[in-house]
């Protein structure tokens, strides 16, 4: 039966921009970067979770027809995609470090519900919540 989740794809505005953000700013590693015609299968993973990849994909034709691809680009840019969460050991320290790298935070660290959390967005508009491990 099912052993676990292997890949979750996220829509990006621009794969080069996304790669720079997820690798050089957030510290993920490239797992796959394969070009096939106009398609580019691009995934990153975290060192602690070798079996789990985030796909950094662009909505594009012909998988989606032009109007739907445009709609998906608009949805991502409007911040309409569902929330994503990652954990950090020390939210305030991670906030300072990532902010210094130019990461766009939408909420400074706040202590509540027995933890500390902050919010950031990737360049495309996807929202991440950064939560201190309890």
């Amino acid at each position: 039966m099912i052993k676990g989740i292997n890949v979750i794809g996220l829509y990006m505005h621009d794969q080069d921009e996304a790669l720079d953000f997820y690798v050089n700013k957030l510290g993920f590693e490239i797992q796959a970067d394969v070009k096939n015609g106009t398609f580019r299968w691009l995934t990153v993973k975290h060192a602690n979770q070798p079996g789990f990849e985030l796909g950094l994909l662009e909505p594009q034709e012909p998988v989606l027809e032009a109007a739907t691809a445009q709609t998906m680009r608009e949805m991502v840019a409007k911040g309409a995609m569902p929330p994503l969460v990652f954990v950090v050991e020390d939210c305030r320290a991670a906030y300072e470090a990532l902010k210094a790298k130019g990461v766009e935070f939408t909420q400074e660290p706040i202590a509540r519900f027995g933890s500390v959390d902050a919010n950031l967005r990737d360049p495309s508009g996807n929202a991440w919540k950064m939560v201190e491990a309890r």
Partner: protein, 156 residues
């Protein structure tokens, strides 16, 4: 709805994010427009096209949402909550709050605290969104409509 340039939408989202982060602050159009890199003349229209609500009404929903959370989670005096969430006076806060939610701040606090739930298992943004009023018309319009409904009910 016409297509909107994703790059523009991303910049409009930045203005929305800034209101989210500091809804108690004043957000005149020129301030929002400069966050988005859009002219003041185009900002309000572009924002409404993108997010379905004018920027000032969006800000109002965030202020009410925050006030509801403070009423639910704290014992802060209602005056302090009003000032803390961006209102200049208790009177205006109380009136607008009731117009939007249908309850006065103290009624809502009593009801929420009576039905306290375990919220620590749900991410904060999710709880927060659940408390946001779904304000589809201007408050003044809502007030007029309710007055008209009440009148027609009385006439029948």
């Amino acid at each position: 709805m016409p297509n909107q340039d994703p790059a523009l939408l991303r910049r409009l989202l930045r203005a929305k994010d800034r209101m989210d982060a500091a809804s108690h602050e004043d957000w005149p159009v020129e301030r929002l427009a400069s966050v988005s890199g859009v002219s003041e003349a185009h900002f309000a229209r572009s924002f409404k096209d993108a997010f379905g609500t004018p920027p000032h009404r969006y800000l109002l929903t965030r202020r009410i949402e925050r006030a509801k959370a403070l009423l639910r989670d704290t014992d802060m005096p209602i005056l302090d909550i009003a000032l803390d969430t961006g209102w200049q006076s208790l009177g205006t806060f109380g009136r607008v709050f009731k117009d939007v939610t249908g309850q006065s701040p103290s009624e809502l606090r009593a009801a929420e605290q009576a039905s306290a739930q375990a919220l620590d298992q749900v991410p904060h943004c999710f709880i927060s969104a659940a408390y946001r009023p779904n304000l589809k018309s201007a408050v003044s319009e809502k007030r007029r409509q309710e007055a008209a409904d009440k009148k027609s009910a009385e006439d029948e």
